[in-house]
Amino acid sequence: MSDFEPVVVVFACDYCAYTAADVAGRMNLEYPAGIRIVRVPCTGKVDSLYVLRALEKGADGVLVAGCLDGDCHFKNGNLRAAARVKALKRLLDEINIGSGRVEMVQMSAGQGAVFAETARNFVATVQELGPNPIKHAASQAA
């Protein structure tokens, strides 16, 4: 599976992870190109549906990237997001997509290096999991 390059959608909070990703870029830190970032005002805005829809459209993994505990710009949006991710993981196990494809990660705005490292690690994890199983099914069905 070494030639498998996962596509990962990152829902990144503007106040931390999205900024951290900008910082990572400006620090010229590399991470796999499959990482694609969608900006959200707070991870509390990340509807479970967005995550499911991303998987439905073929993403191999989804990261919800919010602020560190206690640092949410909106008090506790990140905790709500974390709770949703937890429930989503259960659902994904139930439908055999696998809970490992979704993670909640936390960082602060200045942590460009953390963003890059998190991105690399998650891509590696998804590489282990293999491609989103629906890709195969979709190509079969087509």
Binding site: E5, V9, R36, V38, C42, R80
Partner: protein
């Protein structure tokens, strides 16, 4: 600070000089509702800044934040730029000056010129002038695309009036018979910001070989040679033979700290940082395959946390540092090597062979400084810089005339910006109170686009060609052209400047676009800039979506062009999908409470309070202890010998007498809520903890630092061991007499070590101050100062020289071999190594003085951060919004900071920052209303099941079920987090810009083609 009795009728300020300091002062003033005239002698604004490719310590290019076009756009129309002009006379007095301005002919009409460059190409004499640089005529050197005004000029001294240029100028902008003009301006105050000039090494060419050897260049020339936008396009070659250099050396203090004729006695303060930046840059540029060596006497990274930059350069990035006295430069004609002879630490003569030598030239006063001072009627120092004092750091001898930036002496950008904001605060106080400000920009009416089919324009913006290096831009545009709704796509050349933005606006009109995608920058940093342009083109600001293909693509995947291009396509497709569903957004206006809260009653806080109060603003000044004054209460005199106590006492009295200031001593801040313009802060006073809340619109934090309590060198165990501050107390009270026989001072105690890697910044100056004072009280005393680097910026270098001349012995020690202090039978002994003799020396001091730093008041600052939702930086000091461009702003809008809460600060710095924070606060306070343009949550009543979930999840308790039985969200209060929208079980709540259909469309577009 003498209070002026000004008539306060004018609302205008004259700013002399269009460099970074002048621009900053103008922008702050304009934002605060003032009319500003910037008078600049050159054809365009910018000063030194456009000559620099990047800036320490972030090694970013922040030009976009600093220049008028890229910075705050509010109030820009109140800035009147007068290029090629100078002040010829200043009549009248504070509040009612009349300034006579002479303007030279430009020979090009700025309203018509579109800076196409045809004239420049056509001119056989090289008389057409546009951008300063290594080659001042180079049309390719467009490092400064935001030049204001965006127009060429003609140097009539070179012009032969051949008329070639007239033929090629299509806009018909050239008028070779143009006459100069003069005018008189009524202004209330004046800010001098005409800066300094780079010291020219020509007079000392016998030492440095400048001119004699082409491979000896100045810092600024090096910068131009290295710049990708420079004359060589970044292909760095040795000027003499075009060879790729492998050994580059920087010679520090070229022309500074010298008594040699042609040189300057003071320290230029910023050259150490510039050289380090250049050395790091060179190492990066050549993939570390060169030797970069800095030859220096003392490294003086003076700004906040600059010491960390030095340590990183030395320990991580591979810059060589050779401590020496640089002597002469010669050239080995056989090898072509430059040979720098220098005296090493042990006093031995050494030679270094180099390919290129960069002279870290300092700065000096402009040639016409004295002349200008005469016109202004202000006093100058011996070096022709404005003579300012610690307690009046941006004031001149003439009331109503202020100074900032390099007019006050060489300094870095944050220092200039702080002074600019400070001067602007003071200058503003001399004016009529701003009232009834008309803030409405002259914007066209928004086009109605409801019901229209999307007509989307895709603009690829790549200033500096960063994106193109990794991404096939054409392929991206090609892909975009096929997408639903995309009717136009182009690369926007130099879109960063007004020229590019004009093009954007033109394209919107020309192609009747109703939605815009800009691909290139992060929406966080550039969203506002492009949104303004979109708005100017008659569209709602929300009709813009940005694709972050620079920071989150090109910069990350530069080794994989294919993937980077694919990803760019996906990101742009996401933006297109998003913008297709964009809905107009309309900002909300709220009343703005103009009162201010200043936390901390030290010099910085009092300065802020006084400056604000002078503008008629009600200030609550909160101080934790029982008395005002803070750390300055323990100081007696300044380095120049002025009395701190007198000045401080006067300042405290002023604060107490000021009716607009309510002083609350013995008071703590315990809670804080609200937003800029409408803060509410809970305070607690006295041992009984009386609680009250104050309502205010802006906040200035100036809670200061704490002293380091040394544990080293028998401190606390022997009465003869004390800190500089304690010594100062004794000297001040005349109680040090017996101790002043043999005095040893040890520098860097508690700083620049593992526990505290930062530099204390002001301890060297304290040591020199006290050493001189000791010599004054007892000329026979023997004083040793054991130091690592003597950090004496600008004129304090003269005091250092004076101390050496007075017989104070300065002995350097290496941190690996620090002085040893012992006590036996009551005899104190200090053993240290003399680097020249390389021998241990033992001294039995009557007094051992430790130079200890100010440390962050960690616990206090931590709590302050907790309450005000801010962050701490290295060493626990408060983290500012941006160390370079927003030095006294914090990330929380409406909250500013000043003084040693940010970093160890001298009295003058604390005072300046206090004034600057007030100046910054003024830009907000002057607004009558608070405009909220963040996205807000909207309820679709027909879907609402009134389930109360939004009411329960909102972190700010904003939604409620209204009389009609559905949820209602006040747009003025909603902060736009979107939690309610994400939790609404009926999908009845949508957050503007992040509506569900839009979010899903984005995600789908991002993943299109995968299945």
């Amino acid at each position: 600070m003498a209070k002026t009795d000004s008539p306060r009728t004018s609302n205008s300020v004259l700013v002399l000089g269009g460099g970074i300091a002048g621009i900053k002062a103008s922008l702050d003033l304009a934002e605060a509702g003032r009319q500003v005239y910037i008078v600049e002698q050159k054809p365009s604004l910018g000063g030194f800044l456009p000559l620099l490719d990047r800036q320490f310590p972030t090694n970013d290019c922040n030009i976009c934040y600093l220049m008028p076009e890229g910075g705050a756009s509010q109030g820009l129309q109140r800035v009147h730029t007068l290029p090629m002009s100078h002040l010829s006379e200043l009549k009248g007095s504070v509040g009612e000056f009349t300034a006579a301005i002479e303007t030279k002919p430009r020979y090009i009409d700025t309203d018509r010129c579109n800076a196409c460059g045809a004239c420049l190409a056509a001119c056989p004499e090289g008389a057409v002038v546009f951008t300063p640089g290594l080659d001042t005529n180079s049309p390719t050197c467009l490092r400064y695309p935001q030049a204001t005004p965006q127009a060429f000029s003609i140097d009539m001294e070179k012009c032969t009036k051949c008329g070639e240029c007239l033929k090629v100028c299509h806009p018909d902008a050239i008028d070779l018979d143009m006459q100069g003009s003069s005018q008189e301006l009524e202004v209330g105050s004046v800010i001098l910001a005409s800066g300094a000039q780079v010291w020219d090494p020509t007079p000392m060419e016998e030492w440095y070989g400048y001119h004699n050897f082409p491979d000896v260049i100045t810092s600024l020339e090096f910068e131009q040679l290295m710049s990708a936008a420079g004359p060589t396009g970044g292909a760095f070659q040795r000027p003499s033979d075009g060879r790729r250099p492998t050994r580059i050396g920087w010679i520090q203090c070229a022309g500074s700290r010298t008594t040699k004729p042609g040189g300057n006695p003071y320290c230029s303060s910023i050259c150490c940082m510039i050289s380090m930046k250049e050395a790091i840059w060179a190492l990066e540029h050549f993939d570390r395959d060169i030797e970069a060596t800095v030859f220096f006497m003392d490294m003086r990274p003076m700004g906040k946390d600059y010491e960390l930059y030095y340590q990183r350069a030395k320990n991580e990035l591979g810059v060589n540092f050779t401590r020496c006295m640089p002597h002469t430069v010669e050239r080995n004609d056989k090898t072509g090597d430059l040979v720098l002879s220098h005296l090493d630490d042990a006093g031995k003569l050494q030679e270094a062979h180099l390919d290129i030598i960069v002279l870290a030239t300092g700065f000096c006063a402009p040639a016409d400084a004295a002349e200008q001072a005469a016109v202004l009627g202000i006093e100058m120092s011996s070096q022709n810089f404005v003579a300012a004092e610690d307690f009046a750091p941006v004031s001149t001898s003439r009331p109503g005339v202020y100074a900032c930036g390099m007019s006050l002496g060489p300094q870095d950008i944050p220092g200039s910006l702080v002074q600019a904001s400070a001067a602007c605060g003071l200058a503003s106080a001399e004016l009529a109170p701003p009232r009834g400000l008309v803030l409405a920009e002259s914007m066209p009416t928004e086009k109605k686009i409801t019901g229209q089919e999307p007509r989307i324009g895709v603009f690829l913006v790549d200033w500096g060609n960063v994106v193109k290096e990794s991404v096939d831009s054409e392929a991206v545009l090609q892909a975009a052209s096929g997408w639903d709704g995309v009717v136009f796509g182009t690369q926007l050349e130099l879109a960063h400047g007004s020229r590019g933005l004009d093009k954007l606006e033109e394209a919107i009109a020309e192609h009747d676009l109703n939605r815009v995608v800009v691909a290139g920058y992060s929406p966080r940093t550039h969203g506002n800039l492009f949104a303004e342009a979109v708005r100017r083109a008659g569209l709602n600001r929300a009709m813009l979506e940005m694709a972050n293909i620079r920071d989150q693509d090109a910069l990350v995947h530069r080794h994989d062009r294919t993937s980077a291009t694919d990803k760019a396509v996906a990101l742009v497709r996401m933006a297109v999908a998003g913008v297709r569903r964009a809905q107009p957004m309309h900002p909300v206006k709220l009343p703005f409470n103009p009162d201010a809260l200043v936390v901390g009653g030290g010099v910085a806080g009092m300065s802020s309070a006084l400056s604000l109060a002078a503008q008629g603003i009600k200030v609550y000044l909160v101080e934790r202890s029982r008395q005002l004054g803070g750390l300055a209460n323990e100081l007696f005199r300044t380095l120049e010998g002025g009395s701190v106590a007198d000045e401080l006492g006067e300042m405290i009295a002023q604060v107490q007498d000021e009716p607009n200031i309510e002083v609350l001593t013995d008071t703590l801040v315990v809670d804080h809520q609200g937003q800029v313009g409408a803060f509410i802060t809970g305070l607690q006073s006295g041992p009984g903890m009386y609680y009250r809340q104050v309502a205010h619109g802006v906040t200035i934090l100036a809670t200061g630092a704490k002293r380091y309590e040394p544990t080293e060198y028998l401190y606390g165990a022997d009465d003869r061991v004390m800190t500089q501050l304690e010594l100062e107390q004794r000297l001040g009270k005349g109680e040090a007499g017996d101790l002043l026989d043999t005095v040893v001072m040890i520098q860097c105690v508690g700083s620049r070590n593992e526990q505290n890697p930062t530099c204390g910044r002001i301890c060297c100056r304290s040591a020199v101050k006290n050493a001189l004072w000791i010599k004054e009280q007892n000329p026979d005393s023997q004083v040793f100062v054991l130091y690592r680097d003597m950090r004496m910026p600008f004129m304090s270098e003269l005091a250092y020289r004076q101390a050496r001349e007075a017989g104070v012995l300065f002995v350097r020690f290496d941190p690996s071999n620090p002085p040893k202090v012992s006590q036996e039978d009551g005899n104190l002994e200090v053993v240290f190594t003399d680097p020249i003799l390389d021998q241990p020396l033992a001294v039995e001091p009557s007094l051992l003085v430790l130079s200890t730093p100010q440390l962050a008041a960690d616990e206090n600052t931590e709590e302050l951060c907790d309450i005000f939702r801010l962050q701490q930086g290295p060493g626990g000091f408060l983290l500012e919004e941006h160390p370079k461009v927003k030095p006294v702003d914090t990330p929380a809008p409406g909250v500013f900071a000043a003084g040693s809460v940010l970093a160890p600060a001298s009295l003058a710095e604390a005072r300046t920052q206090g004034l600057a924070a007030a100046g910054r606060a003024l830009t907000m306070v002057s607004k009558l209303s608070l405009v909220l343009d963040n996205p807000v949550a909207k309820v679709m009543p027909e879907r609402c099941a009134a389930c109360l979930i939004c009411v329960r999840v909102c972190p700010y308790d904003i939604p409620f079920i209204n009389a009609d039985g559905y949820s209602e969200i006040d747009p003025a209060q909603c902060l736009g987090c979107g939690v309610c929208a994400a939790e609404c079980p009926a999908q009845a709540i949508q957050l503007q810009g992040y509506e569900d259909d839009r979010m899903l469309a984005r995600a789908e577009a991002l993943l299109e083609g995968i299945l």
